[in-house]
Every structure is written in C-alpha cells, then in structure tokens.
Symmetry: C2
Amino acid sequence: MIQKLIEKIKKTNAPIVVGLDPMMGYIPEHVQKKAFGEFGETLEGAAEAIWQFNKEIVDKTYDLIPAVKPQIAMYEQFGVPGLAAFKKTVDYCKEKGLVVIGDVKRGDIGSTSAAYAVAHLGKVKVGSKEYAPFDEDFMTINPYLGSDGVNPFLDVCREEKKGLFILVKTSNPSSGEFQDQLVDGRPLYELVGEKVAQWGEQCMGDDYSYVGAVVGATYPEMGKTLRRVMPKSYILVPGYGAQGGQGKDLVHFFNEDGLGAIVNSSRGIIAAYKQEAYARYGAENFGEASRAAVEDMVTDISRALAER
Amino acid sequence: MIQKLIEKIKKTNAPIVVGLDPMMGYIPEHVQKKAFGEFGETLEGAAEAIWQFNKEIVDKTYDLIPAVKPQIAMYEQFGVPGLAAFKKTVDYCKEKGLVVIGDVKRGDIGSTSAAYAVAHLGKVKVGSKEYAPFDEDFMTINPYLGSDGVNPFLDVCREEKKGLFILVKTSNPSSGEFQDQLVDGRPLYELVGEKVAQWGEQCMGDDYSYVGAVVGATYPEMGKTLRRVMPKSYILVPGYGAQGGQGKDLVHFFNEDGLGAIVNSSRGIIAAYKQEAYARYGAENFGEASRAAVEDMVTDISRALAER
C-alpha cells in the first residue's frame, strides 16, 4: 500500500492528505437541513449530514490528492450510525482511487491489538466466511504499550500489504509532557522513532516501509532529527494550517528524493469556505472552496520544497 | 460514578470486574450455531452470537459483581454490527445495575479527544436534540499525548459525573519498553502516575477521584509504588488469572481501607467452561461456569486481603 501511496503522490505532485474530520460546525446549514429533513434530528440525521458533506468534498478534490484521513472520533461521537458513515466514507474514497488513512489511534496488547488490526486493516472470520470490517489502507496507532502491542498490527500489515502510522511526536502544545522527557539524555520520542524504524524494517516496500510515523508540523526541529532516525519511514505530518504549521516548517520532514512525508490538513481544507480567503465561494459551494484550498496548500508546500 | 462503583464494591464485597471480551473462540458452538442460523455467517450473525453470549454471562453473574468491562476491540472487529452489539451490551449491563467500564483506550488531542469523550461518556448535540451515543460509566484512555489530550475527557467527566482509567503501567511483557524508561532516575510510569493524581484532584468524589489508573497485576512491586503516588485514584488492575496475576500479587494495589483497586478478569471468567476446573459444567452451562469462576476469584482476593 505504501507503493500505491507513493505512486499517487508522484502522480498528483501533492504530498498532502485531506483530513475528513466533519465536525457539525463545519457542515453548511443547507446540508444539515436536508439530512435532518430526511432523518430528523437524530444520530442517523447527523450521520447523513456527515456523509453528504464528505462526499461533496471528495468529489471536488479527489483528482488533486493522493489520500484522505478520516478521523474516526468525529464519527464515533454519533454512535453506531456515525460509524456507519465512517465506513461509507472509507468505501467511497477507495472507489474514487484514494488511499485511506484511518486516523483511529488504537493501541492495546496481544489479542486485543490483533482485533483492532483486523477491524481496520484485515479480515475477520465468521464461521466459514471472511469480512473486511472497516478496510482502511493505513491506520494510526499509539505506541505506549510497547512491542507486544504493535506486533499484531505488523502481522496484519504484512499479510494485507497495508500500513501504519505510529504516534511519535504529536502536534499539540503539551505533547512534550511525556514525549520530550529525557531518557539517557535523549528525548523519549527519539526512542519511539528508533523503534518505529526497527518495526519498519520488517515491512519494507521498495524504498520506504509500510510502517510510518506521526510527527507534528508544529515541531520542525524535532522533525529534522526524526527524519534522520527513521530514514525509511513515511512521516504523516499533522498540524499544518489551522494548528500553525506552514510550508517552510515542513521541508525537513521530507527526504532528498522529495518523498518521505505526507502533510495533513483538516479544517483548513474541509471548512475552507468559512475562511476569509475563500469566503467568495459561499457555503453553497463549500466543495469548490475546499478545492481552491487544496490547490493553495499544494502550491505552498511545492514552493517551500523548491526553495530549500 | 466513582461513588456508585464504591458502593457496589462494598455491597458485593467483590472488588472485581468481569471483562466482556467475547472472542469467537470463547463462544460455545451452540450459541454460534443459533445466531448463524438466524442471521447467516455474517457480521450481523457474529454480533448476535456475541450479544447472546454476553447476556447469558451477565444474567448469571450480575448479582455477584459491581462492574463489567467490555473491550471494544472485540466488537469493533465485527464492524458496524459489532459496535451495535457493544452498545446493546452496555445498555443491558446498566439495566442490570452494573457499572460499565468501556475499555476503549482512546486518546487524541483537543476537539478530537472531546469527540471521543462525548462518544463514550457524554452527550452529542444534533440540531436541537441531545443523544448519549455509547454512554458507558467509565472509559480507559491513553496518556501519551499529554494534558491537552486528557483535559477534554476531564471536562466531560465533571459534567456527567463519570470517570476515567488512564493507562499508567500496562500488564504486558513489553510494557517496559517505554513505560519503564528512566527520567531523572525515575521510571516514566511514575511520572504518568503523578499526572494522574494531579488530574484526579480536579475530579474528586468523597474519598476517591473519578480519575483512576490502569496498572497491571503482573507488576506487583510497581503497583506498590504507584499506590503511594496516586493515593486517591482507583486502580483498575488487569492481568489477573490468564495473564499470570494471582490474589497475593494484588494486595499492594489496595489501600488500608480495603478499597482503591478493582481487579479485572476476562478470559478466566467468560471462558471458564473451557478450563479443567469448570469443565464439569459443559459448554451448555457456560454461564454457570462463569458464576463459579467469579465466586472463586472473589474468594482468592478476599483471602489475600485478609492475610496481608
């Protein structure tokens, strides 16, 4: 799957991923109204609004981008109907040829990790049949429980040729509370990064591993170090745009080959129509606003990479 | 909710929680057959088998125990129908008066953590209506992202009078890879434990906080230290039974008042009928076997506490 991701990045010339995190506040009135008209102000109504919102954004941007990253929390908060909308979104994005990164940040041990791996990347047995429950291409996971929490995910990745992005250094202000603590003079996130590199060696594509890392755009210096620590790992970089990261902060996350990183923007793309820069589109044309925001983001990152 | 948990522990005299982790391999043939007969070998069929299995175990044990802990991964692996069975299980256990600890190990930042908190403990707004999506009483969370990952959960806990168990030292063999790393001469799990104590101060019940910790039964010495570090935090202790923990390992997790800890057993209870000790019940009477296993677990722990 890392090969497909890299091919798509090269083809679109856009090392970006659109975060499909459909908070209700982002969904234009007219989309909500239509969904509630059909299903009432119910969890099913909310799920329908989310799905219609996502579909429009995907329809207007899929030819420009390699991948999407739906954040499952935004669906889970609408219960079982919300999770059905997550599944529908994953399926639709795959139909459109997009690589789907399930931002689920799961993490547990042994058979429980195996169950999460199966849920999101693998197939589950029911009697003599097999089903792929959510069937994303990549998923994000949390490393706090160590190798025997991660290994069951690696097993499923090898079997299914799918991939992981493991949290290493997250984009939020207090991520340093534990991640930056010094262990023998080196921050914990470096140790985690080393482990990611080791885990990744067991899951190699042609040049890059199926096992990548999450490192926030808000910490460019740490990105530089981690790029060296994990040379074969793709880095998924959140925190661009709304969280404060800019194109120039991102260059160190990339390798010399111009690959090795994929930058996420969620709010900055899906709620673009709410920003002054794209207000001219209006809420009715929120999908067009998202398309324009994608184009601007690609330009920003390409320029920064060209100028480095 | 911590008050309800403590009251129920006192009433049942059983500081234990039954882990409802219904792996397919645990579910007796006749239960699977019936479910598949009705729904086919489908995700819906698997979800029905899980639900019927859980219901029987709850019916046969609810009067002996204060709480259950469904592990959501075991439901999530059966996709949307599996998650509907999770919800049905939560609702049924609450109807039976049990405290429900959602073992979901979620963790993210800001609005994403808030969405998870709402999904599992809170209420979500849809237009002018409000819904409680999964509505557990407690949930487990992962601390790797630091305070601004945890705070949104604390906010919902205060609002709803619900609670958390935060991963501190997990029961698995490789939990030390990151958790035991020394920071200024002290292991990381102690730092996390201190943070849990601080977070807990903002969420106090009468004697204990709504904010507890997860510390594995497999590390009794660390449990002893962490008991001191977090005197007001309830400790959820996994790893009893199948993972190797025994009654005598558990005494240090409890305070002098005999409270402060709740010990989980999953496989040891729900798949008791597969153990030699309970084989006499047969697969047909798996619920009775679980009841006997609960009684034995309570005796083991009570004896260990009496002898300390």
